[in-house]
């Protein structure tokens, strides 16, 4: 498969995280409908986000967990 970098990784990542409004994502979505290489990049990006979220949650680095940890040390 050819590679395509018309849209930078940061932009794909923001889209994957749902941070691009539907008014602004037109050019990217039109491109994704046509470009298999970028669809693959987006899928990898989405998987990375899912995995890192699961791992970070498990490590207990979420704010609530951090607060709990600090409280535990305080005791």
């Amino acid at each position: 498969m050819n590679t395509c970098f018309r849209f930078p990784g940061d932009e794909l990542e923001r889209y994957a995280m749902g941070k691009v409004s539907h008014l602004d994502c037109g050019p990217l979505e039109e491109h994704l409908i046509l470009c298999a290489a970028c669809r693959k990049r987006l899928m990898q990006m989405e998987e990375f986000i899912l995995v890192i979220r699961a791992a970070l949650t498990e490590l207990g680095t979420h704010p609530e967990a951090r607060i709990s940890a600090r409280s535990a040390f305080a005791v």
């Binding site: 498969m1 050819n2 995280m17 039109e30 491109h31 994704l32 409908i33 298999a36 680095t61």
Partner: protein, 240 residues
């Protein structure tokens, strides 16, 4: 029967097309590889000519349309709605696009990509709306399953778990500060500007940290896969 099928079934006049012909086009193009739908190809497409051929009912036009957009439409619908009745949904979307072109509704052929995206978005909204209404009628129905059937099988669950293990190894190798930066971005969804401002980071440092984490994740994954080929098979199966 879906609303879009209704439009199709009663589509007398210029926009009327034979659903079987679309099925045969889809079938004949089922084995076409992804490599043919890249950015490079899009620059070679003569949109004016393509739209004209579809408008005239030329089957080669429909084939090209399907070749260019079939996988992208499938991907978008699957991403938004899940695998349930995916073939029907792709078919319906394709029919709507072809019908509209035949009725001469696409005035600017260069805007075909945007037009396809608009149709797909409307389809997604219609399916979600339909699911919401169905839920009102059937209170016991699980809306999540109805809208997007994303249930994974045990193999997929195991493969995902394996990847989380790789990631845990990566994260444990980072400093507490780096983990906090990633947590703020990926879990808390704080903006890059906020994180950089509060943690005294430059934009470049922030990007480097993210790309290093991604690279290390890939390295750990490769290393583990080399040690245990069975995992590799499992991951390949799940990602395919």
């Amino acid at each position: 029967m879906l609303a879009t099928r209704g439009i199709f079934a009663s589509g007398a006049g210029e926009g009327a097309i034979d659903p079987q012909s679309i099925d045969s086009v889809a079938q004949s193009l089922a084995d076409i590889g992804d490599s043919q739908t890249t950015e490079a190809v899009s620059h070679q497409v003569n949109w004016q000519d393509l739209v004209e051929r579809i408008h005239k009912g030329d089957e080669s036009g429909m084939e090209e349309l399907y070749r260019l957009f079939g996988r992208g439409i499938r991907y978008y619908l699957c991403r938004q709605l899940g695998h349930q009745e995916l073939d029907d949904k792709v078919h319906d979307t394709f029919v709507i696009v072809v019908q509209a072109i035949r009725r001469g509704e696409l005035r600017e052929p260069d805007r075909l990509m945007g037009f396809v995206r608009t149709v797909v978005r409307r389809q997604v909204a219609a399916y979600i709306d339909e699911a919401v209404h169905s839920r009102r009628d059937e209170l016991n129905l699980d809306l999540g399953v109805r809208i997007a059937d994303r249930r994974s099988d045990p193999e997929q669950t195991a493969a995902f778990r394996q990847k989380v293990e790789f990631m845990l190894e990566v994260l444990r190798s980072l400093s507490e500060r780096d983990r906090e930066i990633l947590t703020r971005f990926y879990l808390d969804e704080q903006s890059q500007e906020t994180i950089c401002g509060e943690m005294d980071l430059s934009e470049t440092q922030f990007r480097l940290l993210k790309s290093r984490a991604k690279a290390r994740f890939g390295e750990v994954g490769k290393r583990r896969l080399q040690k245990n080929p069975l995992i590799a098979v499992s991951l390949r199966t799940s990602s395919g």
